[in-house]
């Protein structure tokens, strides 16, 4: 057994005992219900700045959070050690907060019958990942750095590579007990291209994978794509000013469109009357070209989990089908307030997948006389009104299918409720973004582009 695995096993046993003792102590202090969430992590991390190793970091950490309900009031506390006096003080603090809070008859926790212990998702733990040493990580990082700096015009501001092994447990006083372990190798990098006085826009990328095996190939492929992109974005022009079509890359689909859709699906928005999709289940809310699902058991995605933040078993769920809203996203509390059922998405959704469409990507770029291809969005989105406004970063301007060049100082603005209903094309190809979700490319209409 690797040293890391051994450490995780030992720490998790202690935390398991501490969590049970905390539930008992909380009960002895007259709490009506208590939830304890505990985790421990062993992490190794290497940092490169300006092409030079600058830091090696190793860390063992633990976190305990607890939530108490008392006389229909709630209070919570968190700490980073599992010693008995500290945990007992945390229970006292949480109960003190609850005493001065406002009564809420909808507070709820699931019973063990609603949240049976789940079977761990086997792909989330990889023994090989837990065996990785700092030396292995150093070789991995050096290979990435060599790829990223092959072209001398590429300036890498920061590169980080890490492995982490984690155990997580969730318990409540009604008998719920869920645990899972997870290993991950993660990398992220940021930089730009510099050619004399010409500086491209800043960009970044990265992802996470459960398994060490195959992760270097993924990382190197991403490095090659990144360097090609930042060099291509040198010598930017200003896009023309117009209102009309833009092509959103998968990353832009996530950054611009996804948050607003999730806001209006969220049980918290529904219960407070803030959702525009409050009574829209079964109705068309966006273009019929959009299909969105959450698949927490999909091994491609780093957010996979067998249980949600309430301890309920998770499952694949269709959220939007042919533009029709299929469900809101409820945890136990929002479901209770809305007289609905939890969708086991407390802390979620976990692994979003937007289905590919029917349109060829090249044809999507070529078929429009004027098209801004937006890769990143740096700006503000008001999910309540749907208004968005910001800078199109790492983006390019196409005229009659010809790539005119990268753009700078180009802003985009519009209303997302309009844009989501004006989807013109969805690509057959998709990308896994940071290993956490899958998105296609989309052409949308009704966007104001302010350039020259």
């Amino acid at each position: 057994m690797s040293e890391t695995k051994n450490t995780i096993n030992e720490l998790s046993k202690k935390l398991d005992e501490a969590a049970k003792a905390t539930l008992d102590y909380s009960k002895s202090q007259s709490a009506d219900r208590t939830k304890v969430s505990a985790s421990c992590t062993v992490e190794k991390r290497l940092v490169v700045e300006n092409k030079e190793f600058t830091l090696a970091n190793t860390l063992e950490s633990q976190k305990i959070g607890l939530l108490v309900h008392k006389d229909q009031r709630k209070g919570s506390a968190a700490l980073n050690n599992a010693q008995e006096p500290s945990l007992q003080r945390a229970v006292t603090d949480a109960l003190s907060l609850a005493r001065f809070s406002v009564p809420d008859p909808f507070l709820i926790m699931p019973a063990a019958t609603e949240a049976p212990s789940t079977k761990p998702l086997s792909f989330m733990w990889n023994d090989r990942t837990s065996e990785i040493s700092l030396k292995d990580l150093q070789e991995f990082t050096q290979a990435m750095l060599a790829h990223l700096t092959k072209d001398k015009r590429v300036a890498i501001d920061r590169l980080e590579v890490s492995t982490s092994c984690m155990w997580h447990g969730l318990y409540n006083s009604l008998g719920v007990r869920q645990t899972e372990t997870q290993s991950a190798v993660s990398w992220s990098f940021m930089g730009m291209a510099v050619d004399g006085n010409d500086v491209s826009g800043f960009d970044y990328d990265g992802r996470s994978a459960y398994s060490w095996d195959g992760s270097l190939d993924l990382a190197l492929k991403q490095c090659a794509e990144f360097t090609e992109k930042v060099v291509r974005n040198l010598r930017p022009i200003k896009a023309p000013t117009y209102k009309g079509l833009v092509l959103l890359t998968p990353r832009a689909v996530e950054e611009i469109l996804l948050g607003t859709m999730l806001y209006h699906m969220a049980g918290s928005s529904v219960m407070d009357g803030k959702s525009q999709w409050h009574e829209k289940i079964g109705s068309q809310v966006v273009s019929n070209m959009i299909h969105l699902s959450d698949d927490p058991h999909n091994e491609r995605f780093s957010g996979a989990t067998a249980f949600d933040g309430d301890g309920l078993p998770t499952a694949k769920r269709t959220l939007i089908e042919n533009g029709v809203l299929m469900t809101h996203l409820h945890d136990c509390y929002t479901a209770n307030r809305c007289k609905s059922k939890s969708t086991a998405t407390s802390g979620g959704p976990f692994a979003l997948m937007c289905k590919p469409g029917k349109d060829n990507l090249t044809a999507m770029m070529n078929a429009r006389p004027e098209l801004l291809v937006v890769d990143r969005f740096s700006g503000n989105i008001d999910p309540i009104k749907g208004d968005f406004s910001g800078v199109a970063k790492s983006s390019r301007y196409f005229k009659n299918g010809k790539d005119i060049g990268a753009v700078a100082e180009t802003m985009i603005a519009g209303n997302l409720f309009e844009v989501l209903n004006k989807v013109q094309a969805v690509s057959t190809v998709t990308e896994d973004l940071s290993g956490s979700m899958q998105m296609p490319w989309m052409v949308v209409d009704g966007v104001s582009v302010t350039g020259n």
Partner: protein, 465 residues
């Protein structure tokens, strides 16, 4: 024995450079909305972070167990990590500039006041403010009030002489609202954060009449139009000036970004702004005394200072830690900060601001034919190439020397130094106004920013017909 003494005893048994940082953060957080308390939380994080410099390379380790044996193990681990890295480094070895290493113990204003205050009083005030805001107008759909306080306790001991401790309090309050009319919604909000106690927080000028101000602006925005996009002459309010200083300039002059090739690289001594512009980043601001980024020393144990970045339009300094100061041949500026004990220190801003000038806001408006007064700073981001964007919750139209219509939110963008070169007026009125929330750079950091009103030209993102 105090934690500082324990660290001191451990450091002096080590060879080579070792930096020990004990950090305990106790925080409270309350959120009230719709007559409920959504969050009533207390949190404690405590541990020791260790940085070791071995053969010119850094190693880091941290432990939440603050017993001597555990800290000793963390020191050994950090040294082993550094030794491993030293073999992999090809270029220069890391050296440290000493600077003014702090040997004082510091207790900030308001720490005792907040520590002694009852939870019931703090939470009760949050619940009461939410009620007031919810009832402030018939058009009010949602009111939300968030209070967060950080009680920071630190001891920093380095093998080359830093030996200091601090206790500081950083409370903040933010109110937000959604108004509704005929299915249309508008949002608004304000907030303030201070380095000080409860009394200091509620004396912040932003919180004067805060409920009435938010209610009026949010309801008025229901009937407001959008601003027209394009390059515009604008007057930026202090919060927006603070955002410009922080996002568009401040990040580009952080020496780690400068080394990576930011737009500020190689520009020391050059004119980068209008001669009316003098900009600084201060760890011990004296204009108001309560800005949230006030710190007596940074996380390398270096005493903080008021660092002038741009003087009369010329770039005069970057922001440094001990390592970059040695590399650039200057003194460290006290900008090395870590969020938690388990985070390594990075170069971060503290209180970033433009110094006040000679003009009066009223005169700046009166001498403007056409443009906007931009208020209500939102979030912002900037690139190393100096391109920035930030949002604002509302703008006022200025026509023929008069402030006229209230307009909806806008996003502003530009190239930082280009925008600063267009500054043609700087007001004498000044305010810190960015003390809520956090700056993000891998780790969060509590910072503040502010300034006078300035008049300049900027890109306004708007709607095209």
């Amino acid at each position: 024995m105090s934690m500082k003494q324990i660290l001191h005893n451990l450091v002096h048994r080590q060879s080579g450079y070792v930096e020990l940082r004990w950090h305990k953060r106790t925080s409270q957080s309350f959120v009230a909305t719709k007559g409920r308390v959504d969050v009533a939380n207390t949190s404690t994080t405590e541990g020791v972070g260790v940085r070791a410099l071995v053969d010119g390379a850094w190693g880091f380790a941290a432990t939440a167990d603050i017993s001597e044996p555990s800290i000793k193990r963390a020191i050994q681990q950090a040294q082993a990590n550094a030794a491993l890295l030293a073999k992999a480094r090809k270029g220069h070895t890391i050296a440290l500039k000493t600077g003014r290493l702090c040997t004082k113990d510091f207790v900030g204003d308001g720490f005792a006041e907040l520590q002694q205050m009852q939870i019931a009083d703090k939470l009760g005030k949050v619940i009461d403010l939410e009620k007031q805001l919810a009832k402030s107008s018939q058009r009010m759909h949602t009111a939300k009030v968030r209070y967060t306080e950080y009680m920071e306790e630190k001891a920093i001991v380095t093998s080359d002489g830093a030996n200091c401790s601090l206790k500081i309090a950083q409370p903040e309050l933010a109110l937000s609202a959604i108004a509704e009319k005929d299915g249309q919604r508008a949002t608004g909000g304000k907030g303030a954060g201070v380095s000080g106690g409860w009394t200091c927080l509620f004396n912040h000028p932003t919180l004067n009449h805060v409920v009435d101000d938010i209610a009026k602006t949010t309801v008025d925005l229901l009937d407001a139009k959008y601003p027209e996009g394009g390059r515009k002459k604008v007057i930026l309010a202090p919060a927006v000036v603070g955002l410009l200083c922080h996002e568009a300039i401040g990040h580009t002059v952080e020496a780690d970004f400068v080394k990576a090739g930011s737009v500020a690289a190689g520009k020391i001594g050059q004119a980068v702004a209008s001669p009316l512009v003098t900009m600084a980043d201060s760890g011990q601001e004296s204009i108001a005394g309560y800005a949230v980024g006030n710190l007596p020393f940074d996380d390398e144990g270096v005493e903080t200072e008021n660092t002038i970045i741009i003087k009369d339009g010329k770039l005069v300094s970057y922001l440094h830690n001990r390592e970059t100061a040695a590399e650039f041949g200057v003194n460290p500026t006290g900008n090395s900060r870590a969020w938690l004990f388990s985070d390594e220190p990075l170069i971060r801003m503290r209180n970033t601001y433009l110094l006040p000038g000679q003009s009066k806001l009223a005169d700046m408006i009166a001498t403007m034919d056409d443009g906007y007064l931009v208020e209500g700073a939102g979030s912002g981001q900037a690139d190393s190439n100096g391109e920035f964007m930030f949002g604002c919750s509302h703008v006022w139209e200025i026509k023929n020397g008069k402030k006229t219509n209230l307009l909806r939110e806008a996003t502003l963008s530009g190239i930082a130094f280009d925008v600063l070169k267009t500054v043609d007026a700087v007001s004498s009125e000044f305010q810190w106004d960015l003390g809520t929330g956090h700056c993000g750079k891998g780790q969060p950091a509590k910072v503040d920013a502010g300034g006078p009103y300035i008049r300049c030209e900027i890109n306004v993102g708007g709607r095209q017909s």
